[in-house]
């Protein structure tokens, strides 16, 4: 009798959670599709991602290919966005640069989120001294403002792709940890958890099957918004001479390199900055749309 009751109760409660999640994601999709701006932003992003992924196939030139005849050339039919100081095609470099920027943004954001979910869940779920220690460490990291921390980390770890990902990820992690932790705390007292405990679900099971689906939406929104600011931070770092450096075609680095010849060859600074702007704009617009779709009440 007890075993049967447990099975039924378990099936009922997990069916409830699953059903809720299914209709929730379908509802979200519906709302998202109605938001034209967000859909447009998503399409633009998809184009950028495709361009970045298929860069070698699309770009007219390699990113290191030098055209000695056309140094610092302005936009023309041969080089749509012109060339830089050693004859490299700006458009091709921008498209390749997308690979770096987008990968940086995505990896750093994911790294940060995964760390935050794990650490935040532990802090929120177990409480006590573990929670305290984790919070103190977060306090210390947050004592230094984000950009400054990234600068210091990047200066110490040196330039380079992986190093930059780590440097960028660390700054945002404490606030994500706090977010996860507060979601776990708020959900901890909920009744359906008591019900699960009352039928002897194990702790890990509770955490993953009951808690996580319900706190996913703020986390997803946080990640999406985070990517935009990480890309911005990455290009700021490159602009200052840290992070990813030439000859790698990172957008911020290209801007920095083109700075000195801005008077004579403005195209070297206009285009890289423009693409950073468009990318961040699309990510932010999509992130906003996603957040509105996931919780329409938050919209206002």
């Amino acid at each position: 009798m007890d075993k049967k009751m447990k099975e039924n109760a378990d099936a009922a409660s997990s069916a409830g959670v699953r059903q809720k999640k299914e209709s929730f994601s379908r509802q979200t999709m519906k709302r998202l599709c109605k938001n034209k701006v967000a859909v447009f932003a998503l399409i633009m992003l998809a184009i950028l991602v495709l361009l970045a992924v298929f860069a070698p196939l699309i770009t007219p030139y390699g990113y290191e290919e030098m055209d000695y005849m056309n140094i610092n050339a302005g936009p023309s039919l041969k080089h749509w966005f012109g060339t830089d100081a050693i004859g490299r095609d700006v458009l091709s470099r921008l498209i390749y640069g997308g690979r770096y920027s987008l990968t940086l943004g995505l990896s750093a954001s994911l790294l940060s989120t995964v760390l935050a979910i794990i650490i935040g869940s532990i802090a929120g779920y177990y409480g006590g001294w573990i929670d305290n220690i984790i919070l103190r460490i977060c306090d210390v990291i947050q004592a230094v403002p984000g950009m400054l921390l990234a600068i210091v980390l990047s200066a110490v770890m040196g330039s380079g792709f992986i190093n930059t990902i780590i440097a960028l990820a660390i700054g945002g992690t404490p606030s994500a940890i706090r977010l996860t932790r507060s979601m776990i705390l708020s959900v901890r007292g909920e009744e359906y958890l008591e019900a699960a405990v009352s039928i002897n679900c194990s702790s890990a099971r509770i955490m993953f099957r009951r808690i996580l689906p319900n706190i996913l939406s703020p986390i997803i929104v946080n990640v999406t918004m985070g990517i935009g600011s990480i890309i911005m931070l990455a290009s700021s770092l490159s602009f200052l001479g840290l992070g990813v450096q030439p000859p790698l075609p990172e957008w911020g680095a290209m801007l920095s390199a083109g700075r000195n010849s801005i008077r004579n060859y403005p195209h070297l600074t206009i285009f890289p900055g423009l693409i950073i702007f468009i990318t961040c704009l699309c990510i932010n617009l999509f992130g906003d749309g996603l957040r509105d779709a996931m919780d329409p009440k938050l919209k206002d």
């Binding site: 306090d139 990291i141 004592a143 230094v144 210091v152 200066a155 404490p174 840290l242 900055g273 961040c280």
Partner: protein, 322 residues
Amino acid sequence: MRNYILKRLVMTVFVVISAAFLIFTIMYFIPGDPARLLLGTEATVEQIEAKREAMGLNDPYLIRLGRYLYDAFIKFDLGDSWYTGVPVITELSNRLPRTVFLGCMCVIVSVVVALPLGITAAVHHNKWQDRACMVLAMACVSMPDFWLALMMVLVFSLHLGLLPSFGIESWQCYILPVIAGSLQGIGQLARQTRSSMLDVYRSDYVTTARAKGVAEKKVIYQHMLPNALIPVITIIGGQFGRCVAGTIVIEQVFSMPGIGSYLSTAINSRDYPILQGSIIVMAIFVALVMLAVDLVYAYVDPRIKAQYVAQSKRRRRVKQNG
């Protein structure tokens, strides 16, 4: 109330020491040998070793940490530049006021532009004014400030010759940097103001005010705004702090002699004492600004006196997320 101030002061001290600790620890792991760098490539092994002893580089981590914290906070000595030998603290005290001035200007412009933008968007919720303001705010947040700075230099200095593009001799020198520096702040503040106002818009006390026969304009400015501004104050404070960090790029682009350009030069020349000292000073500055914001907050919100614990916890979260 005094408890609240005391509590915040203690927290600030903790934050300041943590920042110094964190930065020192991170920079402890810088590759390369400072002694060798300073003595040059012809130095002998003995000379390098002697230099290392003199600089205290062979001492264990905790001793070096202690010595650094003591030097920094008691003797106000942040070390000397490896390249020029000038004490970091001297340069910083010359440059800090200029950066603070620039930061203040940015925040003031940001508030003056963003608040009306956010209020308009909220009051005309879902109409064209709302969308226009929010598109503008979104563009501000997504635009790289260093790019806008360069574009403005291109148009206004190089092509039109209207405004200077470097230095700080005249007030015109500040126009472009302040616009570029306040940009992100405007975007973020406008969005926050709008959402604060909308939160308040649907409050019951607003309906009560309307039911009393208060005219709509008065409802907005006397009932909604004072309540909506309370969380916004925290954001403004955070912006102040972030302005100081953000001016790094602006000062570099516009060649303004503040902490930011000092820092970016140090990055390029790998002059680590400057890097270390500047960042710590900036972090301290941010912490002090947040303390000031919290104190202003306490005066503005009558509920603080009774509920300061809940408020400060919540505000820390907003600050971290903001």
